[in-house]
């Protein structure tokens, strides 16, 4: 009985040590993507990323992934008056420009009404479709798509 009561502060002390050690270990392991710099220090300027050159369509990583843009889109505007992407990717234009045509799912309004043209909720292409740069992944990823539904 006496022994047990003597052990309690010891255990508590050990526990505290472990906790402190663990915290310091965590502090080293976890760091924000901007690095270890203190907030008032000037960080090193990251390398400027370049958009990839025009290429073949890029493989999808998983089913229903919005296809990536395999070309530069500098200066392409999507406004209420005109959509530059659609000047090649619309059903009317895709053949002439050898482009991928826009999916017909994009013609449906949120109420399920099929419209004669691209619906407002799918009109802003860059919300889902993005061009690629020479940037490397910031975090490792071991994701693999289901084989039975992969086409690449």
């Amino acid at each position: 009985m006496k022994n047990q009561t003597a052990k309690k502060p010891l255990l508590a002390a050990l526990g505290l040590c472990a906790l402190l050690l663990g915290q310091s270990a965590l502090a080293v392991e976890i760091q924000s993507l901007r690095g270890e710099n203190a907030i008032d220090e000037t960080t090193e300027v990251p390398e400027v990323k370049r958009y990839n050159k025009d290429g073949q369509p890029l493989p999808r990583n998983y089913v229903l992934q919005p296809p990536l843009i395999p070309h530069k889109i500098d200066g392409y505007e999507v406004t209420i008056k005109h959509n530059k992407c659609l000047s090649c990717h619309s059903w009317k234009n895709y053949r002439r420009h050898h482009a991928t045509k826009i999916s017909q799912t994009h013609f449906q309004s949120r109420d399920g009404v099929v419209l004669a043209n691209v619906s407002a909720r799918r009109y802003f292409c860059l919300q889902c479709h993005v061009p690629q740069t020479n940037a490397l992944p910031l975090v490792d990823n071991t994701f693999e798509p289901v084989e039975s539904v992969s086409s690449w």
Binding site: H71, K81, S90, K92, N93
Partner: protein
């Protein structure tokens, strides 16, 4: 002898005056051929110039710029004079205030853009070709899409403006030009 002197004197004075007037005329015309002159009116400064800023012909890797007159005024003298005479119509509309607000300008944008497209088409995009010469284009240095489109375009007898619309300024409402590249209108 005196007659001959008068003749020579008149000739010399005529030559000097000719140089002064001709030079002065061309000098004045060139003054109207600068970006500064173009944006001295708010119609240009606040609309088309504001849109042009930051785009490829204003801001790019090498710092070569094409300013207003490079694209909108012909280089060759006779065509330049013709364009300058046409510009008197622009003075009339300046006085009338035809596009003195953003709203008025937007309302007229399609019509104005069509004027430029038509002219460019008729002249085979002459002003583009002052810098962009088809014969000097190295297709192999171009991207995959540009390489194909430029060769197909050349074969089909197309001119720059047929595809390159809205390069330096915003496009007007294009629903009449290409109904497939605009927002769907909700049915009533």
């Amino acid at each position: 002898m005196a007659k001959r002197n008068i003749a020579i004197g008149t000739l010399l004075v005529g030559m000097v005056l000719g140089v002064i007037f001709w030079g002065g005329f061309n000098w004045a015309m060139e003054l109207t051929n600068t970006e500064q002159f173009c944006i001295s009116c708010h119609e240009m400064r606040d609309n088309v110039y504001a849109e042009y800023k930051g785009r490829i012909h204003d801001l790019n890797r090498t710092g070569v710029r094409a300013t207003c007159p490079d694209c909108h005024v012909p280089k060759e003298w006779i065509y330049k004079i013709k364009r300058k005479i046409q510009a008197s119509n622009e003075l009339y509309h300046k006085v009338m205030g035809s596009i003195d607000t953003r709203e008025k300008f937007e309302a007229k944008r399609l019509e104005l853009a069509r004027h430029v497209w038509k002219t460019m088409k008729e002249t085979d995009s002459r002003e583009c070709r002052n810098c962009h010469e088809y014969g000097s284009m190295d297709y192999m240095a171009q991207g995959r899409r540009a390489r194909r489109e430029h060769q197909e375009g050349l074969d089909a007898g197309k001119t720059c403006i047929d595809c390159h619309k809205g390069i330096a300024h915003q496009l007007p409402d294009m629903s009449e030009e290409d109904p497939s590249a605009v927002l769907a209108v909700k049915p009533e």
